[in-house]
Symmetry: C2
Subunit: 422 residues, 2 copies
């Protein structure tokens, strides 16, 4: 039996254990600020595989001095970041396996068929918030590592496993690993790409627009100015900006994606009384940054869009909406499909799937931008699960896809890091 | 000195006391649920004038059986309703003087020059939430009553003074006085009309539209459906309905009023995360009901407007917005300008002001509809203060207007109720 045959047969024989691990991870609801329970499961797993494990709560004061830090909260105490290191025999290329362990809130619970954190296995799928985004991918990575170790294969290069917090809020966890000095010759992030290879990832930023009105009795509403009506103008102007920005995208990788660089207005809030004219409305959203764009330029374009709108409306001209960027940002990233690491991943995929991998540019941000821009690490994103399941009720992952991904990742580890003669 | 001369000279001589009473009333911030303090001031005043005073917390179980009851809360304990009765000598027409004592919230405190509940007297104006809407008018009525009593004038008809709660939330206080049997041959409500005579009052209802979307990751927002975008369609459809309803208004009394029967969308709320597509948005508002309209027909028209919108949008067609009427309603009202009570008020105004009163239809609801429809009481609305100040920062009332109103009201009491020979 070749090494590869040994690994694949280990993976096939232990699918149930992989599912159980995923269920355990999902059952620890790891929304922002609640990551301790899930990281305990990760730590136990990494230690059982013999990795050196480093656990620490990122420190605000340390992060605060970094130019790429965007504070998502004022304190990270009780939210541990985890890095496991498997030392190689030497002489090989190192790799970071990076996965975030935080999940977005479950949303309207009534829209879920089971408890959002059930981790239940049904019809070949594991269900629950985070199965796809991205605890499933994390399990694929851990399972790949396990299959190598249990098959007695020794890698030459180091493997550094990141189980990071705060990806959903802008990447503080990954930034903290870089500040701590965890770097490598390449990095792989198994975000849910449905096993397409995302060589480019869109960046994004959160923004808030505060729109002022003037209050009045609703019965004489014409004596006030409705902040809701003015917010509708802002909403429309931002949709027009989205159309304009996307019309510019010519990268063939974005072909077929309806809105390559979306601007999502996700939250609206304003007014305090049905019979009064609303005097303040806020819109909060996320603006996509194309892989080659500078974040600063995007901020300026959104600001200019609002200033243009003000020229068309006397009230807004005198009461310009306030624009802030807050809470979260994801740095865009791009790697050539001919980079040696990309070639390694493409070949590994081809072997497992028997066809070439689809190469695309991701419509969303990952921590890959930080690994590349801050760490200087060539980074690729490929993982099991479909984006359309992420952030959605009844989120699930196909077990068979998680297993196939583990095979691809084990192959990447062998080919990239190299193995010692056994 | 004639009776009238005596009264007017008493009023002119005691302006300062009237201002002090208004300040005391304003300093008791009587937003919904906090009416006890202000009613204590009213009770003391009415007792000092020798009225029989009835004080009770309206009971939900009693109200609940009434067809015009719209629950604004589940419990009215601690929110007393007050009625003071001045028995006449007999043989005259009785009158209700009705004023609400509740005020709307102060809104954004930073927009106020002084504390919203300062009751401060500056440059001939008293400032604070409720000065105009409508504690100033209440003081005019109490002051009119005081001027008669202190001038030794004895009325033939009874005077029933209502100091009611919940007008701002739909009239539970006035409904409770009617259920308790307090009725009269006419009623006067000194809401802030800037001393125009409002023979018609617009009714209104609160409504809530819940607009459904489908959540998704903001980066692939095209895989979801934004409840905010759909709520914008609802907002526009409702503005179009407002235009259509107002184009129908031909009553010359509404001439010059920009939107006779407004639909105010006062509150919007939806979405929970900037990077997710919003799956639910609610809009809360107030729809005006023309004096001759049936409330039921207006409800049906708003429902039909939303159904028509659904026909134009496949998503809305499958996920029709939910329409509810909740919390508050004001019944419309109309009285002929030639009704004997209207003639009495018109002549009293003409005498004090030296010119004919302006007759208009109000763009907002009052408790007048309940007094008329439930109590069968001919009701008119006229009072000091300008509507545009109501529900607005730096609300104030001109003291001189409050004083002139007191003179008009004292004259109305004499002419309507009749006096015994002294």
């Amino acid at each position: 039996m070749s090494n590869i045959e040994k690994i694949y047969s280990y993976i096939d024989a232990h699918q149930r254990e992989a599912c159980d691990l995923l269920s355990k991870l999902v059952q620890q609801a790891s929304t922002q600020g609640n990551e301790q329970g899930v990281q305990a499961v990760v730590i136990q797993k990494l230690k059982s595989l013999g990795l050196e494990v480093d656990v620490w709560d990122p420190e605000y004061s340390v992060l605060a001095t970094h130019p790429y830090f965007v504070p998502s909260r004022i304190n990270y105490a009780g939210s541990p970041n985890v890095v496991g290191t498997l030392r190689g025999a030497g002489g090989g290329r190192s790799i970071i396996l990076n996965g975030h362990i935080d999940v977005v809130p479950e949303g309207d619970r009534t829209k879920w068929s089971d408890d959002p954190f059930s981790g239940i296995l049904k019809n070949g799928r594991v269900y629950g918030r985070g199965t796809t985004d991205m605890k499933g991918g994390n399990v694929s990575m851990m399972f790949a590592l396990e299959s190598l170790l249990r098959s007695g294969i020794k890698l030459k290069g180091d493997v550094i496993f990141h189980s990071v917090i705060e990806e959903e809020s802008g990447g503080v966890g990954t930034l903290a690993t870089l500040i701590s000095g965890y770097k490598a010759d390449a990095a792989l992030i198994p975000e849910p790409t449905n096993m397409k290879l995302f060589i480019k990832q869109q960046g994004s930023m959160w923004f808030r627009v505060s729109v002022e009105g003037r209050s009045a009795h609703g019965g004489t509403r014409y004596e006030g100015v409705s902040a809701i009506e003015k917010a509708v103008l802002v909403h429309q102007a931002i949709l027009q900006l989205e159309a304009k920005r996307n019309a510019r995208i010519t990268d063939p990788l974005y072909k077929g994606i309806p809105i390559p660089v979306p601007i999502n207005m996700g939250k609206i809030q304003g007014g305090s009384w049905p019979s009064s004219v609303a005097d303040l409305v806020t819109i909060e959203g996320r603006i996509g940054v194309a892989p080659e764009e500078e974040m600063k330029a995007v901020k300026e374009e959104l600001g200019a869009c609002l200033r243009d709108l003000c020229k068309q409306d006397p009230w807004l001209n005198e009461h310009p909406p306030k624009l802030e960027f807050f809470g979260a940002q994801w740095v865009p990233n791009s790697l050539s499909e001919n980079h040696p690491f990309a070639q390694t991943v493409r070949s590994a995929f081809g072997e497992v799937y028997g066809k070439p991998v689809k190469i695309e540019a991701s419509p969303w941000g990952t921590d890959g931008g930080l690994l590349a821009k801050v760490g200087g690490i060539p980074t690729l994103v490929i993982g099991p699960g479909e984006t359309k399941m992420a952030h959605y009720p009844d989120e699930y992952i196909e077990v068979s896809e998680m297993i196939r991904a583990a095979k691809v990742f084990s192959r990447v580890l062998i080919d990239w890091c190299g193995t010692t003669a056994s």
